[in-house]
C-alpha cells in the first residue's frame, strides 16, 4: 500500500504553500496583485486535490480501507520513516476512525474557506497561508509520533498567527499575540507531560522503534500498546500518581486548545480579530485538535486517571457549556457571541467524554465533526456581515432579509444549525450527549441535577441566537437605514463565491444531519473498539477509583 498520507496530504500542501510564498515574496506590489488570482486558483485546485484524496479514502477508492472494524490502536495507511533514531523519533503517520473524519473535515473546509474568502485582500500571500494551515492541521491528525504530533501541533499556530496579524481587525496585534502565547504556554505544559511520559516508559522492556540513545520511543502506537498491556483492573500504567499527574498535564494543553472555561479567553479575542478564513479554520478544525488530542493520548493511555478525573471533567464541561452560553447572551458583538457559542459547544464534547459511555464519546466525536461544519458557516456569516456593514455590533444592520436575502438565509440556517435544530448536523450529537449523560447519571446514581446545566443551555442557546436574529435579519425594512459606516452606499448582498460556500456548508450540514451515519458509524465503531479494547478490560466491573 502506498503512502497516501505523508507526501500527498501533509507534505504537498506545506511544500506547495512554501513554494508559493517564496515565489510571491520576490514579487513587487503590482506583481503580487496580478499573481493573486492565479495563486488563488492554484490553492483551490491543490486543496481540491486533497479533498479528492480523502474522499477517495472514504469511498475505499484509495487504499481500499474500511473505516469500520479497525480495532483499537490499529491504524490504516500506517507508515513509519526514520527521523531522529537516537531519540526514538520517527516520521510516523496513520489514520484510524478517530482521525480520519477530522482529516476529511480539514480537507473539506480548506476549499470551502478559500471559496468563502475568495476576495480577501493580499490574496497572493493569503491563500498559500491557508494552504499551509491545512497541511499543518492534517499533520496534527495523522501524526502517530508524539514528537511529530507536538511539532505539527505548534506549527498550526504560525499560519494562524499570521492570518490574524495580517488580515485581522483593528486590535489584531493584541489578539494574535494573546492567541499565540496563551495556547503556546499551555502546550508547553503538555510538552513537559509528553516528555515525562516518554521517560517514564520502561526501557527494560525493549520497545519497538526505541531510540538508540535513550532506549525509549515517541511512537504513539507502541506507547499505547504498552499502556494497554500494563493497564489492568486496578493496576495503573506507570503507577497511580504518575498517571494522574501526566493525565492532568496533557489535559491542560488540550483543555486550553478546546477551549474550556476558564481557559477560553483567548478564543473570543482571536475570533473577533481574525479574518473570516482564519476564524473558519480556527473554529472548524483547530479547536477540535484539543478534543482529538484528548482521545488520542490521555484517554487512550490513562483510563484509570480518566475515571479518577471524571467528576472534574464533568464539572469543567458543564461550566464551559453553561458559562459559554450565558456569556453569549450578554454579548453585543456578533462574532464574539459566535465565539462563545463555540466554547459552549466544546463543553458538550467535554461532557460527552466525561460520561465515559460509548454513546457519549460518539457524541463528542460527532460534535467535533458537526461543529466543524457548522461553525465555519457561522463565521462565514459573521465575516460577510462585517464585510458588508463594517460593524460587528448586533443591531448595526436590521432588516437584512430585505437587503441581503442570501446573507439572511445563510445566517438563519447557520444559527438554527448551531442551536441544534433536528435534522441538521448538531442535533444528533446533542441528543446523544443528553442520553449518554442521563444514562451515566442514572447508572452511577449521581444527582440528576447535572441535567439542569445542559437543559438550561438548550434554552439559553435558543435565546441568544434568536435575539441576535431578531436584531439583524428581522425588523427594519425600509424604515431602518443602513448603518452610517456604509456612508450611504447601497447595501449589497453577499458575493457569488460566498453564496457558493454557504450552499456547500449548508448542504453538508443537512447531509450529516439527515444521514449522520455516514460519519457517525465509523465514530461509533471507534468508540466500541476503544471500549472493548481498552476501557472494558481495564475498568469493567470495577467501580473503585472514582
Amino acid at each position: 500500500m502506498d503512502d497516501w498520507i505523508s507526501m500527498p496530504l501533509v507534505g504537498f500542501p506545506l511544500v506547495a504553500s512554501i513554494v508559493l510564498l517564496a515565489f510571491v515574496s520576490n514579487a513587487n506590489e503590482s506583481m503580487r496583485r496580478r499573481l493573486a488570482n492565479p495563486i488563488r486558483m492554484a490553492t483551490l485546485v491543490f486543496s481540491l486535490v486533497l479533498l479528492v484524496i480523502t474522499t477517495g479514502m472514504f469511498f475505499q477508492y484509495f487504499g481500499n480501507v474500511s473505516w469500520e472494524g479497525i480495532s483499537f490502536n490499529n491504524y490504516e495507511f500506517l507508515h513509519r520513516y526514520s527521523w531522529m533514531e537516537s531519540l526514538g523519533i520517527h516520521w510516523s503517520v496513520g489514520m484510524d476512525a478517530l482521525s480520519f473524519p477530522m482529516v476529511w473535515l480539514t480537507t473539506f473546509l480548506l476549499p470551502v474557506t478559500i471559496i468563502a474568502t475568495w476576495n480577501e485582500k493580499n490574496g497572493a500571500t493569503y491563500f498559500p497561508i491557508l494552504l499551509a494551515m491545512g497541511g499543518a492541521l492534517i499533520g496534527v491528525f495523522v501524526s502517530l509520533d508524539l514528537f511529530m504530533f507536538y511539532v505539527f501541533w505548534e506549527l498550526t499556530l504560525i499560519p494562524m498567527f499570521f492570518l490574524i496579524l495580517v488580515w485581522g481587525g483593528a486590535d489584531r496585534k493584541y489578539a494574535s499575540q494573546k492567541f499565540f502565547i496563551y495556547t503556546f504556554t499551555a502546550s508547553v505544559v503538555m510538552l513537559l507531560g509528553l516528555i515525562t511520559l516518554y521517560f517514564f516508559q520502561d526501557p527494560v522492556n525493549p520497545l519497538d522503534y526505541a531510540g538508540s540513545m535513550t532506549g525509549r520511543t515517541f511512537d504513539i502506537p507502541t506507547i499505547t500498546q504498552h499502556a494497554l498491556m500494563e493497564n489492568s483492573n486496578g493496576n495503573w500504567y506507570l503507577g497511580a500518581n504518575i498517571q494522574k499527574v501526566l493525565f492532568a498535564m496533557l489535559m491542560l494543553g488540550f483543555l486550553v486548545k478546546l477551549p474550556a472555561v476558564p481557559f477560553h479567553t483567548w478564543l473570543p479575542d482571536a475570533h473577533v480579530q481574525a479574518p473570516t478564513g482564519g476564524s473558519m479554520l480556527l473554529a472548524g478544525v483547530m479547536l477540535k485538535m484539543g478534543a482529538y488530542g484528548m482521545f488520542r493520548l490521555p484517554i487512550s493511555l490513562f483510563p484509570h486517571a480518566l475515571q479518577y478525573f471524571q467528576l472534574a471533567l464533568l464539572i469543567i464541561g458543564m461550566v464551559s457549556l453553561v458559562w459559554g452560553a450565558i456569556v453569549c447572551l450578554g454579548q453585543t458583538n456578533l462574532k464574539k457571541m459566535v465565539a462563545y457559542s463555540s466554547v459552549s459547544h466544546m463543553g458538550v464534547i467535554l461532557v460527552g467524554i466525561a460520561t465515559m459511555q460509548p454513546m457519549g464519546w460518539a457524541a463528542a466525536l460527532f460534535m467535533m465533526f458537526a461543529h466543524g461544519i457548522i461553525s465555519p458557516m457561522l463565521f462565514a456569516v459573521c465575516g460577510a456581515f462585517k464585510h458588508h456593514y463594517h460593524s460587528m455590533e448586533i443591531g448595526a444592520m436590521r432588516g437584512m432579509a430585505k437587503h441581503s436575502p442570501w446573507l439572511a438565509t445563510s445566517m438563519m440556517f447557520a444559527w438554527m444549525a448551531s442551536l441544534g435544530l433536528p435534522l441538521l448536523a448538531g442535533f444528533v450529537a446533542e441528543i446523544m450527549m443528553f442520553i449518554a449523560l442521563w444514562y451515566f447519571l442514572a447508572a452511577e446514581g449521581w444527582s440528576v441535577f447535572w441535567m439542569v446545566g445542559p437543559a438550561l443551555v438548550l434554552a439559553v442557546t435558543a435565546a441568544y441566537y434568536l435575539w441576535s436574529m431578531q436584531r439583524t435579519i428581522f425588523e427594519g425594512g425600509d424604515e431602518t437605514q443602513p448603518p452610517s459606516s456604509l456612508h450611504g452606499a447601497p447595501v449589497p448582498d453577499i458575493a457569488n463565491p460566498e453564496k457558493l460556500a454557504m450552499l456547500i456548508l449548508a448542504f453538508f450540514t443537512i447531509v450529516f444531519g439527515v444521514m449522520p451515519w455516514i460519519a457517525l458509524d465509523m465514530m461509533h465503531d471507534w468508540t466500541i473498539q476503544i471500549f472493548e479494547g481498552l476501557i472494558l478490560p481495564v475498568l469493567g466491573n470495577f467501580n473503585g477509583g472514582a
Binding site: S25, V151, Q177, I181, F184, V188, L192, T214, G239
Partner: protein, 521 residues
C-alpha cells in the same frame, strides 16, 4: 574511536593539528600587512635613494579599499571554519599536545572542534556582515563607500575579531586551566575593544567601559580562583585537578577556588548576577559585535563551565550529585527568570535580545545542572549516562542553533541600525513593507528563539528539557512505584519547576518578540 595521538609542539603533526589556529594567525599577519601596502619607499640612510618597499606611503587602490580588511578577516575565519569542517568530514583525529615536561597543553577532539566551529562560524558571519557597517558618522547614516572608516581603522576592528577567534579556539583546546584562562583573556580583551570600538559615540564607549570593568573584575576573581586551585593542587592541569578533586575535593580551598573560577565563566555566559553589564554592552556595541557576545562568547563561557564542572569537579559517585549542584541550580533558576522577566518589558530590541540571551544562559546552566544531578551510580547506570550524553548533546546543539538564530537576529538589527533605526522596537514598524525577506527572517529567528516548532530552536530547547526531565525522572528510579512523583528528589523537583517556570516565561517573552513582529509587519 581512534586513539589519542600525543605530540609535542612543533613536531610532526603539529601543523596539521593546529591548522585552523595557524590560518587565523596568518590572517592576522595579513590584516596587519595588506592594508598597509602602498607606494611607501625606504630612503637608504645617507643617500637620496629611495627603495620602494611597498609598506606605508600612499596606499594602492586595492589596499586602501575600506572593505579589504573585512574581506581578509571573513576569508580567514571562513577558511578556518571550513578547515574544521573538512577535518570533521575526514574523520577526526584526536591529538593531544603536551609540553616537553609532559604537561598537557591542548587537546584536539570532536568536542573542542565543535566549539571551534561555533566560534569561527559566528565570527565569520559577524565579520562578513559588518563589512559595510563601520561608518564615520557612526550608526545611522547611509553608506557611500567614502563614508566608511578608512582601512586602518577597519583593520583594527577585524584584527580584533581574528584575535578573538584565536583566543576562543585556545579556550576550546586548552587542557590546562591557565592556558584556558589566557585564551579567555585574549578573547575578552578583544571583545572589550570591539564593544568600545565606536569611540565616537557616547553609548559605544560607555558600553565598552562597563563591559571592560565588570569583565576585569570577574576575571580578576577568576584568576584568584585559579591561584587558589594551584595552591591546593600544585598544578592547573585538568587531569591533575580532577584526580586531586576526587581525593580531597570537599575542602574549603578548592571549593572556594572553583566558586571563584565560576564567577569568571559566569560573566562570560552572562549568568545572573554577573550579567548586568551584558545588556548595556549589547545595547551600546554594534549589532554584529553584540551578536558575537551573545553566541561565540557565551559558548566559550559554557565551554569553560563544562570543563570546570564536569571534568574537574565531576559529580561524585558516592551520593550521586555534584557539590556545585545547588549553586548552579540556583544560578540557573535565577538567571532564566531574571532574563525572561527583564526581556519582557524591554523596548530596545538589542536589550531585549540581551536579556533573552541571559535567559538562554539559564537554560544551558539548567542543562548542566541536570547532568550534575544525575545519579551516577543508579541501577540504570548505562541508561543514565546515556541521559547525560543526551544532555550534553542537547547543550551543544543548543549552542549551535543559537549561533544561527541569535546572531541572525542581531545581524538583522544591524541592517536596521545602519538605516538609522533599531534602538526602539517601534522603529521596526513597517519592516515587512520595506524588507519583506528581512522581516520573515526576523520572524523565523524570533519564533525559533522562543522555541516554537518546527524551528531548530525548538529542537534544542526540547533536547535540553528532555535531558532535565530525564534526570528528574531517573532520580525517582528507586521510588518509581506509587507516590514516586511526590518523592521527587527535592533538587530535581525544584529544577523541573524552575525550568517549567522559566520556559513559560520565555514564552511571555515571545509577547515581546511578537510585539516586535506586529510593528514589523
Amino acid at each position: 574511536m581512534s586513539e589519542i595521538t600525543t605530540i609535542e609542539p612543533f613536531t610532526e603533526g603539529f601543523v596539521e593539528a593546529l591548522l585552523p589556529e595557524l590560518i587565523l594567525f596568518t590572517g592576522m599577519l595579513l590584516l596587519i600587512l595588506v592594508p598597509n601596502l602602498g607606494k611607501g619607499t625606504f630612503r637608504i640612510p645617507g643617500t637620496q635613494l629611495r627603495l620602494p618597499w611597498l609598506l606605508g606611503g600612499t596606499r594602492f587602490k586595492f589596499s586602501s579599499d575600506p572593505r579589504l580588511p573585512a574581506w581578509i578577516a571573513s576569508i580567514t575565519l571562513g577558511s578556518a571554519f571550513l578547515n574544521v569542517l573538512y577535518v570533521f568530514s575526514q574523520g577526526l583525529e584526536r591529538v593531544l599536545i603536551v609540553s616537553e615536561s609532559g604537561k598537557e597543553l591542548l587537546l584536539i577532539n570532536g568536542f573542542s572542534r565543535i566549539f571551534e566551529l561555533i566560534f569561527f562560524g559566528a565570527l565569520a558571519l559577524a565579520a562578513f556582515s559588518s563589512m559595510n557597517r563601520l561608518q564615520v558618522k557612526g550608526i545611522g547614516s547611509k553608506i557611500p563607500e567614502n563614508e566608511l572608516y578608512n582601512n586602518r581603522r577597519q583593520a583594527d576592528f577585524y584584527i580584533l575579531m581574528v584575535t578573538c577567534a584565536l583566543g576562543m579556539s585556545v579556550v576550546a583546546l586548552a587542557q590546562d586551566l591557565f592556558v584556558l584562562f589566557i585564551g579567555l583573556e585574549l578573547a575578552s580583551f578583544s571583545t572589550y575593544v570591539l564593544v568600545a570600538f565606536l569611540k565616537e559615540s557616547k553609548v559605544g564607549v560607555e558600553s565598552g567601559m562597563k563591559y571592560f570593568i565588570v569583565g576585569s573584575v570577574a576575571s580578576g576573581v577568576g584568576l584568584y580562583g585559579l591561584s587558589m586551585l594551584y595552591l591546593w593542587a600544585g598544578s592547573l592541569q585538568f587531569s591533575v585537578l580532577a584526580a586531586t578533586f576526587a581525593v580531597s575535593g570537599t575542602t574549603a580551598l578548592p571549593l572556594i577556588g572553583i566558586g571563584f573560577v565560576l564567577v569568571g565563566f559566569g560573566f562570560k555566559v552572562s549568568a545572573a548576577p554577573f550579567h548586568f553589564a551584558a545588556p548595556d554592552a549589547y545595547a551600546g556595541a554594534m549589532s554584529p559585535v553584540a551578536g558575537v557576545l551573545a553566541t561565540a562568547s557565551k559558548a566559550m563561557g559554557m565551554l569553560g563551565l563544562v570543563r570546570m564542572l564536569l571534568i574537574v569537579a565531576a559529580p561524585e559517585s558516592s551520593d550521586g550529585s555534584a557539590v556545585w549542584l545547588v549553586c548552579l541550580g540556583a544560578m540557573a533558576a535565577v538567571t532564566m527568570t531574571w532574563g525572561n522577566l527583564a526581556a519582557l518589558g524591554s523596548d530596545n530590541p538589542k536589550r531585549m535580545l540581551a536579556y533573552s540571551s541571559v535567559a538562554h544562559a539559564g537554560y544551558m546552566l539548567a542543562a548542566l545542572t541536570a547532568v550534575g544531578a544525575w545519579n551516577w551510580d543508579a541501577a540504570v547506570a548505562g541508561d543514565a549516562s546515556a541521559a547525560a550524553v543526551a544532555v550534553m548533546t542537547a547543550l551543544l546543539f543548543h549552542l549551535v542553533v543559537l549561533v544561527a538564530f541569535k546572531l541572525g537576529a542581531f545581524l538583522v538589527l544591524s541592517i536596521l541600525e545602519s538605516e538609522g533605526g533599531g534602538s526602539r522596537l517601534s522603529s521596526l514598524g513597517g519592516l515587512a513593507k520595506r524588507e519583506p525577506l528581512l522581516a520573515v527572517a526576523m520572524f523565523i529567528f524570533m519564533i525559533s528563539l522562543a522555541g516554537v516548532p518546527p524551528m531548530a530552536g525548538f529542537l534544542s530547547k526540547l533536547l535540553v528539557i528532555m535531558g532535565i526531565v530525564r534526570v528528574a525522572v531517573g532520580d525517582m528510579g528507586a521510588e518509581i512505584s506509587d507516590g514516586g512523583i511526590y518523592a521527587l528528589g527535592d533538587h530535581a523537583l525544584g529544577l523541573v519547576a524552575c525550568l517549567a517556570y522559566g520556559h513559560q516565561l520565555s514564552h511571555f517573552r515571545l509577547l515581546l518578540s511578537s510585539c516586535r513582529r506586529c510593528d514589523v509587519l
